[in-house]
């Protein structure tokens, strides 16, 4: 496998979330994509798909976006899972490694969801401890992503943005800033997404933000007749999220940006078209940065 062209970090361009149904097409046609991101858990037991990913990796910069470290678990992070991730990191040499500000393991059981944390000093200690353990084991920095939330804890004492900023400061991790999640969480809490985004951009040190995520979501009605947005990654990025993305780029600068699409997965060409929309906004942000520099 030639690594010479892909050893560089993930570029500040628009990448695509690669899912298993697209492997064969990507291998056969090598479609244009600035970089790709995968969930490493999909390759830990599936050696056939891992063999395919190794071939794909030869032609594309790759990011590993984990969903199973359970960085928020009070019981700590599973050493066996860290070892599995480390094996993939050593094999694939990804430009970025990330997971979520959430938990999914309790009482020895893994729950396949990104469950929310109460934002307390205790939780901050736990997550910082766990992130440090993972970074030490991997020998590199990881990024931690803000999740979508559907409930808030009365015990929370720290605003989410400040919590993640403090985590980055304490543990040395970077931030994966998911703009769609900001929108979903804000609207579910009946908050103004633009104001919430401003809070995020004020709280975060732009230098710690290593990646941005964009995705579509679903709008459902609760039994009480209220609207609720579900982060299902099953649709186009909505116009409101594109607007928040533009404001994010203006304040944080151009960042590697990933288009995620998981449910009702469309043809790869649809993802490329969505990517082009992000690329045009990234180009504007780049021009703005050059103009400032000049």
């Amino acid at each position: 496998m030639s690594r010479s062209s892909i050893a560089a970090p993930i570029p500040a361009q628009a990448g695509i979330g690669l899912r298993l149904p697209h492997h064969a097409m990507v291998l056969a046609e090598r479609p244009a994509a600035a970089w790709l991101e995968v969930h490493p858990e999909n390759y830990m037991a599936d050696q056939h798909s891992l063999a395919e990913l190794e071939l794909i990796r030869a032609d594309y910069p790759l990011s590993l976006h984990a969903v199973g470290l359970s960085l928020g678990s009070a019981q700590g992070v599973d050493g066996a899972h860290i070892a599995r991730l480390r094996h993939l990191v050593e094999l694939l040499e990804p430009g970025l490694v990330s997971d979520h500000l959430s938990w999914s393991v309790a009482s020895g059981h893994y729950l396949p969801d990104l469950l929310p944390l109460p934002y307390t000093e205790e939780a901050l200690r736990v997550v910082a401890r766990n992130v440090s353990q993972v970074q030490e084991a991997l020998g590199r920095q990881i990024l931690v992503e803000n999740p979508s939330t559907y409930l808030c804890y009365a015990a929370s004492t720290i605003p989410e943005a400040e919590f993640l900023a403090a985590l980055a400061q304490r543990s040395g991790c970077g931030v994966l800033f998911d703009v769609n999640n900001v929108y979903v969480s804000a609207t579910n809490q009946r908050l103004d997404p633009a104001a919430v985004l401003e809070d995020w951009c004020r709280a975060l040190d732009a230098r710690t933000v290593g990646e941005i995520h964009l995705a579509g979501h679903a709008l459902v009605q609760t039994e009480a007749g209220d609207e609720l947005r579900i982060d299902d990654h099953g649709d186009h990025v909505c116009s409101e999220v594109w607007a928040l993305y533009e404001r994010s780029l203006a304040q944080l600068g151009p960042k590697p940006t990933l288009l995620e699409w998981d449910t009702r997965l469309p043809a790869f060409g649809v993802l490329q078209a969505e990517c082009a929309q992000a690329r045009s906004r990234l180009d504007i942000a780049q021009e703005r940065r050059y103009a400032r520099a000049v």
Partner: protein, 272 residues
């Protein structure tokens, strides 16, 4: 998990995990006072419960395609959720989560008319395992024959035995072949008929399942070929493997069933 636990957070997480997996969510409900915000905590918990159970059902559905098709989506979800509550996963690589599903649905209430369901699930699990394997023909066993001919066998390869004709059953389900399905459901008088089950407690149908870079392959075997292959993959010599096939005319095993199968390559000696 070796880190010292943080008490309040650990208590919250174990309580929420129990609430999300509970068969009776009302009985395991968390106090509303734990939550604040625009929606009741119960609303958010319902979203997470649906995500957790839905993800686990879908993980199983990917491996048990024909079982899902046979029983229907709603009934499959019932079995999957029952399995999730009885055996929640212990690791995030959900590819391995279905290992106990076939045993769990054996005798599942409502499946009395499908006596082959658990065997079908076990067969599909073997196919799923094969699909996740990396093809490595060079790692397969090699038999050296007397005349310098070498037989190179595929790797990885699994031998599978069942009382019911599970490969035929699976093909019929996926092709919506109702005639074959009806024949398997109601065995006819001809014995052995290709659709009749073997006597209880015996394996009447044998299969080789192997992985190549192109995909997963299945071939039906006679009991003698299955015995031969089991011996080959256990490291037996050609003579030992033929003896293990239990056939009076042992060469017939090679000539009729093994050599034409896709899982073996014949390598001739140099100059032949």
């Amino acid at each position: 998990m070796h880190a010292p636990s943080e008490h309040a957070l650990e208590s919250l997480q174990s309580g929420m995990a129990a609430a999300l997996l509970a068969a009776d969510p009302a009985g395991q409900a968390l106090p509303e006072a734990l939550f604040t915000g625009a929606h009741a905590g119960a609303v958010g918990l319902r979203v997470h419960r649906n995500t957790v159970l839905g993800a686990l059902s879908n993980a199983l559905r990917l491996s048990f395609t024909a079982v899902d098709r046979l029983v229907g989506e709603d009934f499959f979800d019932r079995m999957a959720i029952d399995y999730a509550r009885a055996r929640p996963p212990r690791a995030p690589q959900l590819d391995e989560y279905g290992v106990g599903f076939a045993a769990h649905i054996n005798g599942f209430p409502g499946t009395e008319s499908l006596p082959y369901l658990a065997e079908l699930a076990q067969f599909e699990w073997q196919l799923a395992e094969a699909a996740r394997a990396r093809a490595a023909r060079e790692a397969g066993p090699v038999l050296q024959l007397d005349d310098g001919v070498r037989l190179r066998f595929a790797a990885p390869l699994w031998l599978h035995a069942a009382r019911y004709p599970v490969a035929r059953l699976r093909d019929a389900i996926l092709a919506e072949d109702t005639v074959t399905l009806a024949a398997i459901a109601a065995p006819g008088p001809a014995d052995p008929a290709p659709t009749n089950p073997a006597p209880a407690g015996t394996a009447g149908f044998h299969y080789a399942i192997w992985r190549t870079s192109e995909g997963v392959n299945v071939r039906s075997l006679s009991a003698r070929s299955a015995g031969f292959l089991a011996a080959v993959y256990a490291g037996a010599t050609a003579i030992e493997a033929l003896a293990a096939s239990g056939d009076a005319d042992s060469a017939q095993v090679l000539g009729e069933e093994i050599l034409p199968a896709g899982f073996v390559q014949v390598e001739l000696p140099p100059g032949a």
